[in-house]
């Protein structure tokens, strides 16, 4: 059976789109997941992936055709054993209403322009996260057809039906599909895969494992009585799910720089000494971290294009530098990231006091969601533990996160001579969907400059 490839809908409201580009030619072999074409609307560009294996027998809508109606036949795929010529001939006879190709705005592979002002929020499902064309309905937020039993099982199991490929008639999701689907996404995160080399009997990574099946599998590796079973609390569950998702779906690159912080430490000391007294206590006591927050906030203002978050089929370019500060809760029981809003506008002392106050409430789990949701980026500082340098996992929708190591005296070369300097190594993790290496370098470069010339933070 030749496979018909139809014009996908990028959003529930999309009626037509432009066929920007064919990435495969007639006669090319395609495998499931191969990107075969690019479709664009005025809002977004999306890749069309092959669902089936076969040979692209016939392209019915040429590249550059504008206003192709959703669900129009755009190409025909010959599956294994089928005569490509015959399929192509048959496909050509199909009622493809390809109008005279009009010149469509070139899409190319370049990411779409930054979201227009009227694009309000990131309501679309991340298109790149969901395999695009393999579930066009799901990617576009349309109704998912599923049997009542499948819906109920999904609810109980915490499976998102939009991510389940249906095996029933017309792609309907049936109970067996849900049973085969991994629960939530938490399952993979919970697997201590790295803790021990998996025995050969372990299921192949691709095979979906249900939570309980996974648990049984993991428990089988350890002698009963040699461990304690600790159920996940809500926070750990969310961390597991979000971090696993970020690690799997965000294409991340890392940039590391060393910052000379001697000037900063000196300034800090002077400022803290000069702190006025209030009720018998110093009005502020600045930490190195407070400087880092301020410097990071200013860096975003200097490189405003980096102040963006990922919204699926567009970015949100933020005006202010809202900087999240990772706070560990009760010695490893969890993590919260309260946000210092508009940090670029706040003085170091204001940042310092606000950070301390938020961190205290975070440890007591007294933060309101609005105090830790959103933001431009986040800072994870493990310097106080003596960690020299590390990389942090981006907390979506952020496109960046700054990992800060310890400030320590190191031998450095200054003007051709060996010298001792206090150096802090920082590493920024960047979402390549949002920014490229040069922009990341600009951002961390700006940060380094501000940190090393800390007086700029005072003006």
């Amino acid at each position: 059976m030749p496979v018909e490839i139809l014009m996908p809908a990028l959003s529930p409201t999309m009626e037509k789109g432009n066929l920007a580009k064919w990435l495969k030619k007639e006669g090319d072999k395609v495998a499931p997941g191969d990107v075969i074409a690019e479709i664009e609307t005025d809002k977004a560009t999306m890749e069309v992936e092959a669902i089936d294996e076969g040979t692209l027998a016939k392209i019915l809508v040429p590249e550059g055709t504008a206003d192709v109606p959703v669900n129009q036949l755009i190409a025909v795929l010959a599956t294994e054993g089928e005569d490509v010529q015959a399929v192509a001939a048959g496909g050509g006879a199909a009622p493809a209403k390809a109008e005279a190709p009009k010149e469509a705005p070139k899409a190319e592979a370049a990411p779409a322009e930054p979201a227009k002002a009227e694009a309000p929020k990131a309501e679309s499902v991340p298109a790149a996260a969901a395999p695009a064309a393999s579930a066009p309905a799901a990617a576009s937020g349309e109704r998912v057809f599923a049997s009542p039993l499948a819906r109920r099982l999904a609810k109980e199991k915490g499976v998102d039906l939009s991510g389940v490929k249906g095996s029933g008639p017309h792609g309907r999701v049936v109970a067996a599909d849900v049973e085969a689907a991994p629960a939530g996404g938490a399952a993979k995160a919970a697997a201590p895969a790295a803790a021990k080399p998996a025995p050969a009997a372990a299921a192949p990574a691709a095979a979906p494992v249900s939570n309980s099946a996974l648990l049984e599998q993991v428990k089988a590796y350890y002698e009963p009585g040699t461990y304690e079973e600790i159920p996940l609390d809500g926070m750990r569950r969310v961390i597991a799910q979000r971090m696993a998702e970020a690690r799997q779906t965000v294409p991340t690159f890392y940039l590391t720089v060393d910052c000379d912080v001697d000037a900063l430490l000196k300034l800090r000391e002077e400022l803290n000494k000069a702190a006025p007294e209030k009720d018998g206590k110093a009005a502020y006591k600045l930490s190195v971290n407070d400087f880092i927050i301020k410097a990071y906030a200013l860096a975003f203002q200097q490189v405003p294009d980096a102040n963006q978050v990922w919204g699926g089929d567009r970015y949100l370019k933020l005006k202010h530098s809202d900087i999240g500060v990772a706070v560990a809760i009760d010695g490893g029981k969890g993590l919260l990231t309260p946000i210092i809003r508009k940090a670029e506008t706040k003085t170091l002392s204001a940042i310092s006091n606000e950070t301390r106050e938020l961190a205290t409430r975070a440890r007591n789990k007294k933060l309101a969601p609005a105090e830790y949701q959103g933001g431009s980026s986040a800072i994870s500082n493990l310097g106080m533990f003596g960690i020299k340098d590390f990389t942090a996992i981006i907390n979506p929708p952020h496109a960046t996160i700054l990992a800060v190591g310890a400030s320590e005296q190191r031998a450095v070369v200054k003007k051709g001579e060996l010298a001792v300097a206090t150096v802090m190594t920082v590493t920024i993790s960047c979402d390549h969907r949002v920014m490229d290496g040069a922009m990341g370098a600009q951002l961390i470069g700006a940060f380094k400059q501000i940190i090393e010339k800390p007086m700029s933070m005072l003006v």
Partner: protein
């Protein structure tokens, strides 16, 4: 080449003829090889003529009970020749219908006894049975795909082999010259109890002997128990856990030695004995051994798409294993045809194949019995609703009946439905659809069932499973 086909079906029963029509619809060149009667057992010597006989029995039963309905019926009786004639006429009509459908779909009928000589090669030998008009003659035929659809035949127990005179199978029982005064029936499956109902109504003194502790062994125990009480009330004698160990034939009767599980031995004499102890697949003389086609306990071994272990050789219907039901064969015919045509055929879920038995009262079921569901480890919610609580059933004069529904308590999945009572064979499809669509109790509860109908008992049974039946 004229003798070359895309697919050849060996046997024109419900599996073969339906598969052939489907294959023809998909543009394949199709032939059907038949040696006895177009349409196979079902329309000729099975489902259809049996239903015709039972309809006569049912009407006779109503006339007998005319008084219950305020009617007066005098001077009525059984003309068994007339009853059989009507049944045979209907069988012929259905068989002709199948022939017409095959012709309409340009399916060739090849007349004779088929055997596979090599992969893709079939030799058809002449048979005594006269060929229908337009049938192709015996000879060598080739086909890319060969589908074994040869059906099954009555199982014969050693020492109790059917002789067509005193020991009958369904063939003789479907066309009796007279109504035997007394009748012994071995086996209480669908065939056994249907003949028990027919002959009891026609005036025979009927005794059923069943080896297992329960009559209708595949049905839910509660439903079978309900049916048993009704049968016994009608005067049918039933021995369960009982084995016919010996049969001595007299001049015009048989004497059977029956051993019961409690060790008692008794002898029963009856005019005729019907052997209804199951059927066995027709796997012989087809050349299957030489081709290396795998068989198991009298049936061809197939996968979900009806493929045997030999490429290009397929098997469907009774010969491909239980449940041996016409609708299962039809469905497999379609699956095989679509798989052969390269369509995305889906394997059938055998759990969702319904079964219907046309005794009085009728029995219909789908899915797991309560015992099987428990055995499978489900935690159950079981609903029951008796016909006495249904206005339409009472108005019909059929207040004896029960609808039992079995749900998985955890998910609300409908695991099984078991019905006994008037016309339940026409009701079961509602539950079959529900199971196939994977509905939960919620959709069934939310559906509106028309009033006044017997189908309201289905709704009430579901409600009862969740503790909310209204008319009970």
């Amino acid at each position: 080449m004229a003798n070359n086909y895309d697919v050849l079906f060996i046997g024109s029963g419900p599996g073969g003829y339906v598969g052939a029509i489907r294959a023809a619809q998909l543009g394949l060149k199709v032939g059907v090889i038949e040696r006895t009667h177009i349409g196979g057992i079902c329309p000729n010597w099975g489902c259809i003529p049996a239903k015709a006989l039972l309809r006569s029995a049912e009407i006779f039963h109503y006339i007998e009970h005319a008084k219950d309905y305020g009617l007066v019926a005098e001077k009525f009786g059984v003309d068994i020749a007339g009853v059989v004639k009507r049944s045979r006429g209907i069988a012929a009509q259905m068989s002709n219908g199948v022939g017409f459908l095959l012709k309409k779909n340009k399916v060739d009928v090849i007349w004779g006894q088929a055997s596979l000589t090599a992969p893709g090669k079939v030799t058809v030998a002449p048979v005594a049975e006269p060929a229908p008009k337009g049938a192709l003659t015996p000879g060598d035929y080739t086909a890319k795909n060969i589908v074994i659809a040869t059906g099954a035949r009555p199982r014969a127990l050693p020492g109790i082999e059917p002789d067509k005179k005193l020991i009958w199978t369904y063939f003789e029982a479907l066309a009796p010259a007279s109504v035997p005064k007394s009748l012994l029936i071995m086996g209480s499956g669908a065939i056994g109890v249907e003949f028990a109902t027919f002959y009891k109504t026609m005036g025979s003194d009927v005794t059923i002997v069943e080896l297992l502790p329960q009559i209708l062994p595949v049905e839910d125990a509660e439903i079978a128990g309900h049916a048993r009480k009704r049968f016994e009330k009608q005067g049918i004698k039933i021995l369960t856990g009982a084995k016919v160990s010996k049969v001595v034939k007299g001049a015009d009767n048989v004497t059977a030695t029956v051993e019961t599980s409690d060790g008692k031995v008794q002898t029963l004499t009856a005019d005729r004995l019907i052997s209804a102890v199951g059927v066995v697949g027709n796997i012989e003389n087809l050349g299957l051994e030489a081709l290396g086609v795998k068989t198991d306990r009298g049936c061809v071994v197939v996968d979900g798409l009806c493929r045997t272990n030999v490429p290009g050789v397929w098997a469907i219907g009774d010969v491909a294993g239980p449940p041996m039901l016409a609708h299962k064969a039809e469905h497999e015919g379609v699956i095989a045809a679509e798989a052969i045509a390269g369509k995305h055929a889906h394997a059938m879920d055998k759990l969702m194949i319904p079964g219907c038995t046309y005794c009085m009262p009728q029995i219909a079921s789908v899915g797991l019995t309560e015992a099987k569901a428990k055995e499978a480890g489900f935690e159950l919610k079981v609903g029951r609703f008796p016909f006495i609580g249904n206005g339409k059933a009472v108005a019909l004069g059929e207040p004896d009946g029960l609808v039992k529904t079995i749900f998985d308590a955890k998910t609300g999945r409908l695991l099984g439905a078991h019905l006994v009572g008037a016309e339940v064979t026409e009701l079961i499809q509602g539950f079959v659809l529900a199971m196939n669509l994977e509905t939960t109790e919620e959709e069934l509860i939310n559906a509106v069932f028309p009033h006044p109908t017997v189908s309201e008992t289905m709704h009430e049974s579901v409600l009862s499973a969740y503790g909310r039946a209204i008319h009970m």
